[in-house]
């Protein structure tokens, strides 16, 4: 069996392309090492460290965009696409840190592990989005997932947390197994795990992979990926998991890992499986539609905000699936834009939920928001912006997100999918509106009295996300141009 013949140590250039991950790993490890040595009241510094690490990571990523290319014998590919998603997940991390600090303090669970594990998850996501190899992709995915399992059950004495973590873990691992099995078969059929090489093999006319096998492998892969992005028919884990996890973690899970999983999905579709795109399309089509419908209609009946947002998150995954179905660069750019805008509006919404839920997350029913516009008008206004954005009202980021996706769908001649998708978003308006109704049109709940002003972190997070949501709603080009330029992947 041939051994890897010659080991070429990575060049400084390659190392630099990997710099954000390395930096974050160092910081995360440092946090882990410092954690047991620090006094219980000195945990705040870990949040600061995480924050700085993420900022440095973003700076390094931005610097790295000048020099796109592959690294570590083509295991990683750092193109605009990767940079986009890396920045996205790191920004998500920043916002989540802002939301989390006060939450953890209230729950008396402040510790360095939380931040370290979150950093690890983000590192995993960075790997996922820049992986050019199924192995690398798998490692990134698991790094992100395993850390997320831990985060989901972070408050280990909380029954809901336990349950959430358990379900997330079991179903996530189940999905991983499917994904891996698909990867194994792909590897067997094409003889490689490199995405570009798989594409070359599939394009090679002299090569006749067994189509039945290939179909089976693709289906397995799809099952795994669909699980990870909570697309129908593999979305059932999301509501329970999102409902049970601590609110900031839910915010994190619903955007970070999801965006990364979509990035991975996109990259696989657009590079390795590009030659098979016609085979993918019907599956994606049906899945996209089902995801939207299930998400939206199930959300209609929810009374728990976290669960409602979980279903809404499924529905939004459906919209992104529409973009995936188009299988075009425009669709890719649209999906990228959508994921970015979704990240901001959803984190914003969850930041408000975190704030309103208060200690022990006792107030997570939609009814608990009643009269928020009177007790905390600014927070209510911000939440309104987020919800309108989730609904897809113009001048918010969510609108352009949907707009670009459905435009891409029409470009790809998926007229019915676009029409049904748009009608779905009208359905979605109903449940988002209900929250607005509760906030603005109902008298304050009794418990609203004791609602203190939001902490600085939450305030900053809400404001930032609201500003970005509006900014992207008025000047979408800012992100879209970048997404459009990055949508062409290095194959």
């Amino acid at each position: 069996m041939p051994m890897p013949a010659s080991f070429v140590p990575p060049s400084p250039q390659e190392l630099f392309r990997f710099a954000p991950e390395m930096l974050m790993t160092v910081v995360a490890t440092l946090i882990m090492v410092m954690e047991p040595l620090s006094a219980p009241e000195g945990k705040r510094k870990f949040a600061v460290m995480t924050f700085l690490a993420l900022i440095a990571g973003i700076v390094l990523t931005v610097m790295g965009t000048n020099d796109p290319g592959t690294a570590f014998s083509k295991m990683l590919v750092l193109d605009g696409f990767a940079a986009f998603f890396r920045i996205l997940v790191m920004v998500v991390g920043l916002l989540i840190v802002l939301i989390s600090t006060n939450y953890l303090k209230l729950e008396q669970h402040e510790s360095g592990e939380y931040y370290a594990v979150m950093l690890f998850s983000i590192i995993g996501q960075c790997l996922m989005v820049s992986a050019n190899e199924l192995i690398m992709l798998f490692i990134g995915l698991e790094c992100s997932s395993i850390a997320s399992y831990v985060l989901a059950g972070y408050l280990r004495d909380d029954k809901r947390n336990n349950e959430s973590a358990l379900k997330y873990f079991l179903l996530g691992s189940f999905a991983t197994a499917f994904l891996l099995y698909g990867v194994a078969w792909i590897y067997g059929l094409t003889g490689t795990t490199n995405l570009s090489a798989i594409r070359t093999t599939l394009l090679d006319p002299t090569n006749h992979p067994n189509l039945v096998m290939l179909g089976a492998a693709t289906a397995l892969l799809f099952v795994g990926l669909a699980f990870k992005v909570s697309a129908a028919p593999f979305q059932m884990w999301a509501p329970d998991v999102y409902q049970g996890a601590p609110a900031p973690v839910t915010a994190f899970m619903s955007v970070g890992p999801k965006a990364a999983a979509f990035a991975m999905f996109l990259r696989i579709l657009m590079t390795a499986f590009e030659p098979l795109k016609d085979r993918w399309e019907p599956i994606l089509w049906v899945s996209a539609l089902a995801t939207m419908i299930i998400g939206n209609f199930a959300a209609l009946r929810q009374t728990n905000i976290k669960r409602l947002l979980a279903y809404s998150s499924i529905a939004h995954a459906g919209y992104v699936m529409v973009a995936l179905t188009t299988h075009s660069e425009i669709g890719t750019a649209a999906a990228m834009f959508y994921l970015a805008s979704y990240a901001f509006m959803n984190i914003g919404a969850f930041a408000v939920v975190t704030y309103v839920a208060r200690r022990g997350e006792k107030h997570v029913a939609t009814q608990d928001l009643s009269g928020l516009s009177q007790t905390q008008p600014l927070v209510a206004a911000m939440l309104t912006i987020f919800l309108l954005s989730l609904t897809g009202i113009p001048l918010t980021a969510g609108f352009f997100g949907k707009f670009y996706i459905f435009k891409a769908a029409l470009d790809a001649n998926l007229i019915w999918l676009a029409v049904l998708g748009m009608l779905n978003s009208a359905v979605a308006a109903y449940y988002y509106l209900r929250i607005i109704v509760v906030m603005y049109m109902q008298p304050p709940a009794e418990s609203a009295e004791e609602l203190l002003a939001p902490s600085a972190g939450i305030r900053v997070a809400i404001l930032c996300t609201a500003i970005v949501t509006l900014f992207l709603g008025i000047f979408p080009s800012f992100v879209l141009d970048f997404a459009g330029r990055s949508a062409s992947l290095i194959r």
Binding site: P2, I135, R160, N162, L166, A177, L180, Y187, G244
Partner: protein, 110 residues
């Protein structure tokens, strides 16, 4: 020199491994869906991962590459990490609820 009547084939055909892996995987998946004890469910996942490993190794051997070996290595590592996290989660669940039945760990419904 006396020859024994048994003769081993030069190598086991690839398809045997693959069929075995499919069986393992299906058993694992079925167990995951049908069994109700968390530990059993968890072990079913491990079984599925082992089916994956088997597939990788078999293909890797067939293709005369090391990629599959490396992959299965990582799968093992990840499975270990998953096992550690998973067992920790199961422990906390057990601590809080004193049950290991999947169906009983379900307080969040519509």
């Amino acid at each position: 020199m006396p020859e024994l009547p048994i003769a081993l084939p030069a190598h086991v055909p690839l398809s045997w491994y693959l069929i075995l892996s499919v069986i393992l995987f299906v058993v694992g998946a079925a167990g995951f869906l049908l069994r109700r004890n968390i530990i059993t469910v968890f072990m079913c996942i491990e079984l599925m991962l082992n089916a994956v490993n088997l597939t990788f190794i078999a293909f890797s051997h067939q293709l005369k590459q090391v990629d599959g070996h490396i992959f299965s290595f990582f799968v093992m590592v990840v499975a270990a990490a998953e096992a550690a996290v998973g067992l920790a989660i199961i422990l906390t669940v057990f601590k809080n609820r004193s049950t290991l039945e999947v169906d009983e760990v379900s307080s969040m419904k519509l």
